[in-house]
């Protein structure tokens, strides 16, 4: 009937099949307009954060009192704040500071949350029970209150504020990571690696972690938005960045005091914060929707 083993010759092309969920989700994501749009906006923001302060027309930290509440014009493109400083220059610097701070916070949250979640989910048992009890306890505190307490203990500064926010958000990261790990642990390719003789570290780092990246990226994106809001809140309350250094929250706080005098600044800074958070959320949503969707065949 046919050749001995019936194997196709070396030149036979294997047919392409459906794409698996975790691979290529980025490729699918970029086909969505909202992902592309929000990513573009965020990229612009990052660009501003990097380059902005260098091209600021005026000194963001000091100004002339004679130009206090000056309306836009005459060198101050967005007007002057209550101390006569150029709002535009301050906004440029604040963008860098706020984004950097939020990034720090998210980094801390993940640096703590990912290992804990991985270990807890992978090994289970007593370790998992204990860790989860602590985790649940930490999550039961209202986030902002806890952050305020931590800052209160460490002393008000932007770094401490970000550490506090990172610590407060870490339990949420643990939850997400642990959930994904529990599911990934049951996958056949993980059992295959275990049966092969891989050490636990290899299984976790090479087989579980890369395959749970998609929910993590979604979480990171959304958490950036939350961290920006948190920083704004803390700085608004005076617990974050120290004046005269501007951050979005700081600027919002100050201009809020003079709301009736100059509503424009409040709206401006508020809009910048809102749009940024929105972009992060939309981006995260878009990524999440791209995961698990299979290219139909």
């Amino acid at each position: 009937m046919s050749q001995a083993t019936g194997l196709p010759g070396p030149t036979a092309m294997p047919p392409p099949r459906r794409a698996s969920p975790s691979r290529g989700f980025l490729r699918r994501a970029v086909t969505q307009p909202r992902v592309v749009a929000s990513a573009a906006a965020l990229l612009v923001l990052v660009l501003v954060a990097v380059v902005g302060p260098h091209v600021a027309p005026h000194d963001p930290l000091s100004g002339e009192l004679s130009r206090a509440f000056q309306p836009p014009g005459d060198g101050y493109l967005l007007g002057g704040d209550d101390l006569g400083r150029d709002i535009l220059s301050r906004l440029l610097l604040a963008t860098r500071i706020s984004l950097l701070a939020a990034f720090q916070a998210v980094l801390i949250a993940f640096a703590v949350g990912v290992p804990v979640g991985l270990l807890s989910g992978y090994f289970g048992g007593l370790l998992d029970s204990v860790l989860m009890k602590f985790n649940d306890a930490a999550m039961s505190f209202p986030a902002l209150i806890l952050a305020i307490v931590i800052v209160g203990i460490l002393g008000p500064s932007l770094t401490n504020a970000m550490v506090a926010i990172g610590a407060v958000y870490a339990p949420r990261v643990v939850r997400v990571v642990r959930g994904s790990t529990l599911a990934a642990r049951e996958e056949l390719y993980v059992k295959s690696a275990q049966a092969m003789g891989c050490a636990h570290s290899r299984v976790i780092l090479r087989h579980i972690l890369p395959n749970i990246l998609s929910p993590l990226i979604v979480q990171a994106s959304i958490m950036m938005g939350l961290a920006i809001l948190a920083e704004a809140s803390l700085s608004f309350l005076g617990l974050g960045v120290k004046p005269p250094t501007p951050s979005w929250g700081q600027m919002l706080g100050r201009s809020f005091q003079y709301l009736y005098r100059d509503p424009f600044s409040v709206v401006l800074v508020g809009a910048v914060i809102s749009v940024t958070v929105l972009c992060f959320n939309v981006f995260g949503d878009g990524i999440r929707d791209s995961v698990g969707r299979e290219v139909p065949k």
């Binding site: 001995a4 083993t5 019936g6 194997l7 196709p8 070396p10 030149t11 036979a12 294997p14 047919p15 392409p16 099949r17 459906r18 794409a19 698996s20 969920p21 975790s22 691979r23 048992g125 007593l126 029970s129 996958e187 056949l188 390719y189 059992k191 295959s192 690696a193 275990q194 049966a195 092969m196 003789g197 891989c198 050490a199 290899r202 090479r206 087989h207 890369p210 395959n211």
Partner: protein
Amino acid sequence: MASPKRRAETAPAHRPSADAGTDLLVIEGLDVVYGGGGGGGVFGLSPRTGFRAVAGVDLALRRGESVAIVGESGSGKTSLLQALVGLAPVAAGRVRLGDVELTRLRGRDVRRARRDMQFVFQDPYSSLDPSMRIGQLLDEPLRVHLRSWSRAQREERVREVIESVGLATSVLGRYPNEFSGGQRQRIAIARALTVEPKVLLLDEPVSALDGSTQGQVLNLLHDIQQRTGVAYLMVAHDLPLVRLFADRIAVMYQGRVVESGPAAALMAAPRHPYTRSLLDASPLPNPTVQRARPRVTLPDETSDAPTPPCCAFAPRCPERFDRCDAEAPAAYPVGPDRLARCFLHAEGTDALEASDAPHA
């Protein structure tokens, strides 16, 4: 065949010696129990009685031999195989690979011993990590077990092994989801062979494949065995299929081996009523013959489990008599290298010279 140079470099302390013809893998009194012991409750302190998937199984595999374990759902065959690589909890018994006792090893030692007993899963679609390229997948066992090898040596070995399963080296840069089931299974087999194991454990390797490609994989496995002398322990549910593959067959029912022996003899004249039922129920792809066969079927499993001690198969057995409900049968010899766990063959009732009934 491995070059002598490679062999010399490997030598971790636990590699089993492999003399031709002697028992390579020996399983004695293996029990696999799920959910038993201290896994549960608050702080893990309340023990639970578990489900015994495998009870007191004895099995041996010789170098270069193919043994098939056949059973239906609930037979424990998959649990047995998985227990050999630590994927199912062993509650009692011993597993010996060469002169290494696997059940006594822990941690890094047991992982090192895995080199000689690699596993191929049933589902070719999920046993390969979708985020890794084929080349990386094949490289992994080498990195785990043969750390002293250089990158060039590993690459060469990977190329060698992927070609030995009939695939081109161009597949190495691609991802698993680009391949069909049959090809993925070949990749999984290749991966298992990279470290030159003594034993290959195969969990229903062709069940998920189309009939027209099953033969390809089985032929390939046979070919590999001829070349490398690897031994196979295969789990399957299809008796007629394993007849074309195995030297010896062990039939399992509810966690126990109920019959074992050389494949041809066992299939020509089964000694256990359950084996007989399996054969009766396997439809022949030949209408004239199939419809002429007597329609004998097994009654369904009843939900009320019989109270031990008794034969687990008794409630459904067409040959049941009193003793079957009162004691559990041992494994009685029924021929050269053959055992059957049935009172029909207990001391006294001797089926040896009944020999094989005349064929049609």
